[in-house]
Symmetry: C2
Subunit: 144 residues, 2 copies
Amino acid sequence: MMKAKVQDPAREAWALLRNIAFVMKERTFALASEFDLAPMQVHALRTLEPGEEVPMSALAGTLHCDPSNITGITDRLEARGLIERRSSPHDRRLKLLALTSEGEAVRERISEALDTPPPEIESLSRADQRALRDVLRRAGGEGL
Amino acid sequence: MMKAKVQDPAREAWALLRNIAFVMKERTFALASEFDLAPMQVHALRTLEPGEEVPMSALAGTLHCDPSNITGITDRLEARGLIERRSSPHDRRLKLLALTSEGEAVRERISEALDTPPPEIESLSRADQRALRDVLRRAGGEGL
DNA sequence: TATTGTTATACTCTATAACTATA
DNA sequence: TATAGTTATAGAGTATAACAATA
């Protein structure tokens, strides 16, 4: 007699995580569209901390893309008035990126939306929320 | 005396999930590169089941993109010999997409890699794996 | 008339390579 | 020589609009 194949729990958990990632991507895209921004522009905006100045090369590192791409991304965000290029007093090769006040405001609204858990997570019991957090921490937290 | 702000468990769990999604995206991209495919081509390949014929419009629906994009994606996969266009005997407007035998082989290798949980998940205790699976199921499973 | 797929157009992201100006 | 940013170029994904063939 054949026994129904039992899914490996790790495999099923992984499939569920992949599904969440997919939905997350769509939500992020929809949110970016609301602000008339491309996903990468949102990512760049989130990378810049209010009041901070970061060299373009540093942004390329954080965004895991070639420095040549940063020029265009920066151009578009600067054209929108959300960030600005500043020169460095110490090294005239560097250009430092900083949020404008409007950029800070937009970044704040976007971050709040992205950092807020969706109803599916909010509606879990506190015990489930803690269990989820704890297991994910044990799975590596930052690493994975 | 100030007490350190305690993170909402749902919020922290959500942050951990976002982090996982980010790493997942990078891994998928790296895997696609190994096969010299673009991420969207991998997604399309995974959508097509072996032995199945699906209209291009159906693929557009599954991939959540405009039908006009499917033409290019199909062109590139067909040029690689991984899929082929077939005509429908019932409706001559339709073009049916199907994996070639090479396409099935590539799809199988890619799917196995994507469906296999990473070490971070595999190395969790069985109890943690089940707990993760169960909480994610309760969080909506397919929905979120 | 409506639908399927294609084409034309335009924009964003992606990398590589060559270039400039600094250091 | 080496580094930071730019430009040129090319390929891939994205959407909109107009089109041909078919229903």
